[in-house]
């Protein structure tokens, strides 16, 4: 009997031990981590929100004794059982969690918690599972790429406490969390006051009514970073925060470099099938600027204008600003100069123009900054321009780089006035780039306006890896313009195209006559920059959204009746694309023209270079995703899954992992949508 007992025991123990050796499924693990992180973000958010409410009074404080706790427990239990708990899920969660801290095994309370939260949780899990299923080659390494870069960078800097993370969480030194055995006081943080301009999406237009579409190129990327930040927190961004062209242009596209030096950029027009509307086509206009070699880089005189007002006192603001500026410093040539001006309650010069080779001096000045006071942004801007003007050099790049959370609450707050000022300085040759930081009080519209009028880039920096992208990887394109006031005008051919719409670029629309008016400002292209614009159009004979009018002038009727003449090349073209640009500093613009014949079309049947299909597909995926985030007015049944599949298939080499990150974002958007 003893032998048998041992044998049975051994079998059980062995089976249990075997189970302990079972390998963990990487996909399941990744799903669990994703789901947990989503919940984590939700809890963090909820903590901040509920903190402001009446219910916080019920939380025990650190001064309570063990007895106090148990009284509190009883008290809370009573509330729970009396059904008041049903009044608010948020409050219930906090209270139950609180109650559980000392009697962790409390199944009956668990049960109470389940009905309210289960729906949400199950949904999240279901979503996660569906997602994982829909994307067979998902591996957890993707997650590592996205988050790993930040961690690694933060470590590299050796400043653990300054590493970017959620603003709420980071405000607390870890020590205080442990010390108080209770709810933790979180300094109030402006929430939900991010300011975005509402712009209606470009409508569909009939070619017969308005055959010409004109816009300025846009090289900003701020919208993408903001959207990413929101999605990483598990919420869908507000629709106005999504600017399609900025999402599309966040990515570098592998268009061919210009073949000759005569034109500073190459223009590539590619027509593909629209994935969301059968029969429709997408026309991609891709522009790629030439790359500067190190020797060609002009001398650079920079003035950092840093916002050190009280609102910048958050780990993802001033500390990140400092780190970003350090990164930028590393990209400068020894004889380039840097000056630093700051503004808070008052504006002041922290560092007179100093050569970049004197790095230690610049770093010391940077590191001494601390945040406090209100924001006199306008005075700061004036001071920065004075510094730039004092150090002005013809032929060099003279640029003010403004780093702020966009809260200009003292001094000149009139946007038009600021805009006019920046515009005048631009004409003198001093440009402005804007780096946006932080969240909760972000004045996107103002940042946009300033950068657009200052011939600069508006970028939103939410993490150190984004700073790395904007200020190191893409430093040349953001610092050195190679073509200015780049405008695009497209004329569609009524013989082949019924309707069209420009996807995105709403804030960049120009009047038809502005195209040939060199006084009208437009976007700039930096060295090595790529810019993409996409039109969706319905060829003649396709399903039109706009009904044909019953009454048409006689001459127009004959034109339509004539139909496309196969023998006539002109009549088979889809459109005619015109570009105007100025060389840096030039007053007169140059014109580039290019017809779009049907032969530019690519689809599964055409054989083209690999980059054409890949880059076109990826741009399409991003544009589609952005439209979905904006509500998907024109995208029909096309879903996040389709965006995911298309982006996944067209990631290409992706040396910096940006496209992989995009795939992650689509997945997060899908999850956020499910909640």
């Amino acid at each position: 009997m003893t032998d048998k007992q041992n044998a049975a025991d051994a079998a059980l123990t062995r089976a249990l031990a075997d189970a302990q050796d079972t390998p963990v499924d990487a996909g399941a693990k990744a799903r669990a981590i994703d789901a947990a992180l989503m919940e984590f973000d939700r809890v963090q958010k909820k903590n901040t929100e509920s903190h402001q409410g009446f219910w916080q009074r019920w939380r025990p404080t650190g001064t309570l004794t063990t007895l106090g706790h148990s009284i509190m427990e009883l008290f809370q239990r009573k509330w729970l059982y009396s059904g008041i708990a049903a009044a608010s899920v948020a409050v219930l969660t906090v209270m139950v969690a609180q109650q559980m801290q000392h009697t962790v095994v409390a199944p009956e309370l668990d049960g109470a918690q389940v009905p309210q939260l289960n729906g949400e949780r199950r949904l999240a899990k279901k979503e996660a599972l569906e997602l994982a299923e829909s994307e067979a080659d998902y591996t957890p390494t993707e997650e590592v790429i996205v988050t790993g870069a930040r961690l690694a960078l933060a470590k590299e800097k050796g400043k653990g406490k300054e590493k970017p993370a959620s603003p709420v969480a980071q405000q607390l030194p870890a020590a205080s969390v442990v010390a108080s055995d209770s709810f933790i006081e979180i300094p109030s943080q402006p929430q939900g006051r991010d300011d975005f301009e509402h712009v209606d999406e470009n409508p569909v237009k009939r070619v017969v009514d308005s055959p010409v579409s004109t816009f300025s190129i846009d090289v900003d990327t701020a919208s993408y970073s903001f959207v990413r930040r929101q999605l990483n927190q598990g919420v869908l961004p507000q629709k106005d925060a999504v600017r399609v062209e900025e999402l599309v242009n966040y990515f570098d596209y592998d268009y061919p470099l210009p073949s000759t030096k005569d034109t500073p950029f190459s223009t590539n027009v590619i027509v593909s099938d629209s994935p969301w509307t059968a029969g429709n086509k997408l026309m991609h206009i891709g522009i790629k600027g030439y790359q500067l070699s190190a020797a060609q880089k002009p001398k650079t005189n920079l003035v950092f204008l840093l916002d050190v007002s009280g609102s910048m006192n958050a780990p993802d603001k001033l500390p990140l600003v400092k780190q970003s500026m350090e990164l930028l410093l590393s990209q400068l040539q020894p004889d380039d100069t840097v000056a630093i001006a700051v503004y808070a309650g008052a504006a002041g010069t922290v560092l007179e123009p100093t050569a970049a080779k004197d790095k230690q001096k610049i770093l010391t000045a940077l590191n001494q900054l601390s945040a406090g006071g209100s924001t006199a942004g306008a005075q700061g801007i004036k001071l920065a321009y004075q510094l730039a003007a004092a150090n002005f050099e013809q032929g060099a790049v003279n640029r003010v780089i403004l780093a702020t959370d966009g809260d200009f609450n003292v001094g000149i707050t009139n946007r038009e006035e600021l805009k006019g000022f920046v515009e005048r300085e631009r004409n003198k040759g001093i440009y402005l780039s804007v780096l946006g930081f932080g969240q909760g009080n972000y004045h996107d519209h103002l940042m946009q306006t300033l950068a657009q009028n200052g011939n600069g880039v508006a970028a939103y920096i939410d993490t150190l890896s984004e700073a790395q992208k904007v200020l190191v990887t893409e430093a040349t394109r953001n610092l050195f313009p190679i073509a200015q006031d780049v405008k695009i005008q497209v004329e569609f051919n009524p013989n082949t195209v019924q309707e069209y719409r420009l996807i995105g670029y709403e804030t960049r629309a120009l009047a038809r006559e502005d195209f040939n008016n060199d006084k009208v400002d437009a976007g700039d292209i930096g060295a090595g920059h790529s810019v993409t614009a996409i039109y969706e159009f319905t060829p003649l004979g396709g399903k039109a959204l706009i009904d044909s009018p019953r009454y048409t002038p006689k001459n127009a009727v004959t034109e339509v009746e004539a139909g496309p003449d196969q023998g006539n090349l002109l009549n088979s073209e889809y459109a005619f694309v015109k570009l105007r640009y100025k060389l840096p500093g030039a007053a007169e613009s140059r014109l580039l023209e290019q017809p779009v014949p049907p032969v530019n079309t690519i689809n599964a049947r055409t054989r083209v270079a690999a980059w054409v299909q890949r880059e076109t597909d990826f741009a399409t995926a991003v544009a589609g995703f952005a439209q979905l985030l904006k509500g998907g007015k024109y995208t029909g049944d096309w879903s996040y899954d389709d965006a995911l599949a298309l982006a996944q298939a067209s990631k290409g080499a992706d040396p910096y992992g940006y496209r992989t990150e995009f795939v992650q974002l689509v997945r997060k958007a899908k999850m956020a949508q499910g909640l």
């Binding site: 009997m1 048998k4 007992q5 049975a8 025991d9 051994a10 079998a11 059980l12 123990t13 062995r14 089976a15 249990l16 031990a17 075997d18 189970a19 302990q20 079972t22 963990v24 499924d25 399941a28 693990k29 799903r31 669990a32 981590i33 789901a35 947990a36 992180l37 919940e39 984590f40 973000d41 809890v43 903590n47 969660t93 969690a97 609180q98 559980m100 801290q101 009697t103 962790v104 095994v105 199944p107 668990d110 389940v114 289960n118 949780r121 899990k125 996660a128 997650e143 988050t147 961690l151 993370a165 959620s166 969480a169 980071q170 607390l172 030194p173 870890a174 969390v177 442990v178 055995d181």
Partner: protein, 184 residues
């Protein structure tokens, strides 16, 4: 199964997303494997593990370093596993398994060839119907290799209770063996 550093837990509690991600990443294997011994089916165990990770996100703030992290974590996973069990309404199925457990155990000891998880599932189902707390005690002590004291901490019972449960299970397994050994 290394315990996470206090520093890591504190960062995660303070809201550091990266720290939390690392914590989950490190602890997932422990959670999953415990869930696996509980559920006996990989897919179910993955569900429970995911649920536990979500719960970890909700409740981590309440961990006060008054016990070892793993003690706390096991409690959380056990709660999740029980929730899951209730939600699945598996009681009936378990009873059915319980009937065949005898056979499975006999086979396993005789040949050692029956698929381990199937065997485990049926034996544990049988253990579970011995009474409240038996399955937990067996999984923690025999499965996770914890001491009776540690298991008692997790289950919030006296050490002697755990000892008694383990002893009882062993005794019954032996009895069972004897019966089946003498039977057909």
């Amino acid at each position: 199964m290394t315990a996470p550093s206090r520093e890591l837990i504190e960062s995660a509690q303070a809201g550091d997303r990266q720290a939390f991600a690392r914590l989950v990443d490190e602890q997932y294997a422990v959670v999953f494997r415990f869930a696996l011994t509980w559920c006996g089916v990989r897919e179910d165990a993955e569900d429970v593990a995911q649920q536990a990770c979500i719960k970890l996100a909700q409740n981590l703030g309440q961990f006060r370093f008054e016990s070892a992290f793993h003690t706390w974590l096991y409690r959380l996973v056990i709660n999740c596993a029980k929730d899951w069990q209730q939600a699945q309404g598996r009681h009936q199925r378990e009873r059915l398994h319980g009937e065949s457990a005898e056979q499975a155990l006999a086979q396993q000891t005789a040949q050692g060839s029956v698929e381990t998880l199937m065997f485990l599932q049926s034996v544990l189902a049988w253990i579970a119907q011995l009474g409240e707390g038996f399955k937990e005690a067996v999984l923690l002590v025999l499965g996770q290799g914890l001491s009776h004291k540690e298991a008692a901490d997790i289950l919030n019972v006296k050490e002697s209770t755990v000892s008694w449960r383990i002893h009882e299970v062993r005794k019954r397994i032996a009895q069972w063996q004897q019966d089946s050994g003498s039977g057909p």
